[in-house]
């Protein structure tokens, strides 16, 4: 039981980071399907930095920086150069895949995986559950109320929401629409980058294409969670639960392959269930152009 709970929390961690990130981007009106690539780049940066410095926490910092970098590229291409946000996201995902594969040879001399890495830890005095629970998971859980405050109780959050709903209205009040959207996208890069760090550091290895579609599941969780931190937490826990069932549920008549499909099936079902019944930010995906 405790095992299943811990498993759920662990598998949910990268999804939670990425989905909260996606929330800030989309609340500002920018679709960020580059989350997938950001997770991957974050995972790689964390592995490289942790391997060469010997400090997993430096790895986390590197992942955040790399995530922000890739997100900045997305914001620049889609806001400044007016490339469609989906096209930019797809391109960055491909870039992330190619670049990490290439850099693996340079940094680790291998095309498949990195050497073994250490995970970030807390002092052993922190108590048993806290030791069992990876610190990044704790951080992800803390990010939920923090995001909620930022989005609903802060000046920045109000402005970001206004920009994602009705950029013309925000502009008419003199708010810098694109700059606010830029910040929203950068925030998504920082959060998803941290999610990437969890992927590689917690597995003790960086493996080629290790994000494996989690960025997209995070986007589904964002919709299923109705663009709210609390809802996103619930959605990612559900997806995390579905994925960690694999190791805990042993039904002889159910093929293992099917169990692996479960999170993806659940994603589809969840989306079919909510789509049409809830509405995202009104201006999401639409570039604001001032004339």
């Amino acid at each position: 039981m405790i095992g299943l709970l811990l498993g759920t929390l662990r598998t949910a961690t990268p999804l939670l980071f990425a989905a909260l990130g996606g929330m800030f981007s989309e609340r500002g009106g920018v679709v960020n399907i580059a989350l997938e690539g950001i997770l991957l780049v974050g995972a790689f940066a964390a592995a490289a930095a942790a391997y060469y410095s010997g400090s997993p926490w430096l790895g986390v910092a590197a992942a955040v920086v790399a995530g922000v970098g890739l997100a900045a590229l997305h914001a620049l291409v889609s806001l400044r150069f007016r490339v469609d946000q989906i096209v930019s996201g797809v391109a960055l995902n491909m870039l992330a895949l190619g670049a990490t594969e290439f850099l693996m040879w340079i940094f680790f001399g291998s095309g498949s995986n990195s050497p073994r890495l250490g995970s970030p830890g807390l002092p052993a005095t922190a108590g048993r559950l806290l030791v069992e629970l990876p610190p990044l998971t704790l951080l992800a859980l803390l990010a939920v109320p923090a995001s909620s405050w930022l989005l609903f109780r802060s000046r920045f959050g109000l402005r970001l929401r206004a920009v994602g709903e009705h950029p013309e209205a925000a502009d008419s009040l003199g708010l810098p629409v694109h700059r606010l959207q830029f910040y929203g996208v950068l925030l998504s890069g920082a959060l998803a980058g941290a999610g990437g760090a969890f992927l590689s550091l917690n597995a003790h290895y960086f493996v080629k294409n290790m994000s494996a579609g989690r960025g997209f599941i995070a986007l589904a969780a964002l919709i299923f969670g109705k663009w709210r931190p609390g809802g996103i937490l619930g959605a990612t826990l559900l997806f995390g639960f579905a994925e960690s069932l694999q190791g805990h549920l042993d039904l002889p008549w159910l093929p293992v392959r099917f169990m692996q499909l479960l999170p993806y099936l659940l994603t589809m079902v969840a989306l079919v269930g909510v789509i049409g019944r809830c509405r995202g930010p009104a201006a999401v995906g639409r570039l604001f152009v001032k004339d």
């Binding site: 802060s154 109000l158 206004a162 003199g174």
Partner: protein, 504 residues
């Protein structure tokens, strides 16, 4: 504060929207700015509000020239603007909308208590009752407008611009607004009311400026202005302010609605138990505040939406499973409310636009092949007949003015003597000349037996053209009135639900 505009000019590609306009505004007065659609009123005020940079000229506040890099600069100087299209965020509350961009609170925190208090304070002072915590989407149009005014006041504006604020209001709401404008003026603020409705301008403004084709053509004190004189200055020639409606000669029923209904859905209003009869040679107007089911009713009759209850009959035969294509084949035509998005394909030529929906007919081609010669001949005839002012029918529809675009839609929809026309806001945003033309055309077709279902938010237009006027309120047809015996004031009571079924 004293504001002067000096020789302001501003062009857009192909249009000189504002040309060499100089004006001065004194504090504590109520001004109006009138002009036809496209005269440049909004553009001029956008220059003053910092939303657009001028190409030439300058703006002086209290004698000092100012540079406005954006609306935040204008706001800082105390200039505020209530826009023609509301600039409100539906998912935020009233208080959030009001303080957005100038939020109270320290360390990045949003102080909701202070926001609420600020809204209450201004609301009380200026008689603008709204609940600060109400989500914006729950408000009526009149309330939403009060939020726009509160936004401007919250920023400490002493110069307030209202861009066509009454376009969306009922006559009663408009009167409430005018009371607010006077109150603002009494507090020493400068108020500029942009409008093209002469009667309302004459009833509130003290000083009236007239624009025509980008130029300022005169300033009149209310006492010396009259509707006729203003209209002449706006248009540059004599205009008929009323149309002559020949007596009705309604024939047998063309369209019959029996208990029509559709359910409420996101983006769709409810319609319940709507029954009426529309006869040959008759114009049935439909009045209502936007969102009370007009759009749905028009969609039902044109086959864009299927009824979930009740039925429609055309010439006594039930219209089951009506599609837009079949509706066309049956002689039902449609002038949609948004000519640019639904009525035309702007980047296609006039010719192509004129055969849309008839691509398969012998008038356009044969055996699935479009014959350019036939299309050109058809287009030339229609363009001439419907007074579309254009040199070459190969031009794209985008290049036309609003009035000519609308005549293009009419040419396609009315040619060939259809049975029934569903006309949605046929004169919205077109110039006076085109309005006159469209009104005359509709009445002429009526005389020839066309049945028209006319939707309009301009009560004066409904009264001028319709034989009878149905009122939609919350999806129900609450009254069908004889157009000769009602006036705008009474219609205003009906469309807000103050009168209707309940007291009948």
């Amino acid at each position: 504060m004293r504001v002067e505009l000096e020789a302001l000019s501003r062009s857009f590609p192909g249009v000189r929207a504002v040309q060499d306009v100089s004006l001065a505004y004194e504090p504590g007065r109520l001004y109006a700015l009138v002009g036809e659609n496209g005269a440049g009123k909004s553009t001029l005020m956008h220059l003053l509000y910092g939303m657009l940079p001028p190409d030439a000229g300058r703006i002086l506040v209290d004698g000092r020239p100012v540079r406005l890099a954006g609306s935040q600069d204008a706001i800082r100087l105390g200039i505020g603007m209530v826009h023609q299209h509301f600039m409100l965020v539906d998912t935020l509350t009233v208080a959030e909308n009001v303080v957005l961009g100038a939020e109270p609170g320290r360390w990045g925190r949003l102080d909701r208590g202070a926001a609420r208090a600020a809204v209450r304070r201004d609301a009380e002072r200026f008689g603008l009752a709204v609940d600060p915590d109400a989500p914006l989407e729950s408000l009526s149009v009149g309330e939403a407008q009060r939020v726009e005014i509160l936004k401007v006041l919250y920023r400490g504006a002493s110069f307030l611009i209202f861009d066509e604020p009454t376009g969306v209001l009922t006559p009663q709401e408009a009167r409430g607004l005018f009371a607010i404008l006077r109150r603002l003026r009494d507090e020493g603020k400068t108020v500029v009311l942009i409008s093209h409705k002469l009667d309302e301008v004459l009833s509130v403004a003290e000083i009236i400026d007239v624009m025509r084709r980008g130029r300022h053509v005169g300033r009149l004190a209310r006492e010396e202005a009259g509707a006729e004189r203003l209209a002449r200055m706006m248009v540059g020639r004599e205009v008929l302010l009323r149309v002559d409606k020949p007596p009705a000669a309604a024939g047998p029923p063309v369209l019959e609605a029996r208990g029509l209904g559709v359910r409420r859905r996101p983006g769709q209003a409810e319609l319940a138990d709507v029954s009426f009869i529309l006869r040959r040679g008759e114009i049935l107007g439909v009045a209502g505040v936007e969102g009370n089911g007009q759009r749905e009713l028009a969609a039902l009759v044109t086959g864009l939406l299927r009824p979930e209850a009740g039925e429609l009959r055309l010439d006594g035969r039930p219209l089951r499973g009506l599609t837009p294509r079949r509706a066309r084949d049956l002689g039902i035509r449609h002038v949609p409310e948004d000519r640019q998005r639904t009525g035309l394909v702007l980047d296609m030529s006039l010719r192509e636009n004129l055969i849309l929906g008839e691509e398969g007919s012998p008038a356009a081609g044969q055996a699935g092949v479009i014959l350019p010669g036939r299309v050109a001949a058809l287009a030339r005839r229609r363009v001439a007949e419907y007074d579309v002012r254009v040199a070459d029918t190969r031009q794209s529809a985008r290049a036309l003015s609003g009035g000519n675009q609308q005549k293009l839609v009419l040419a396609r929809e009315l040619d060939g003597d259809p049975r029934l026309l569903v006309a949605c806001h046929p004169t919205r945003g077109v110039d006076v000349g085109a309005i006159e033309y469209i009104h005359r055309t509709l009445l002429a077709k009526r005389t020839r037996g066309l049945a028209v279902l006319l939707f309009s938010s301009e009560l004066s237009e409904l009264l001028a053209l319709s034989d009878r006027i149905g009122v939609l309120y919350r999806g129900r047809l609450t009254a069908v009135l004889d157009a000769d015996v009602v006036d705008e004031e009474t219609l205003g009571l009906y469309i807000t639900g103050a009168r209707g079924v309940a007291d009948a």
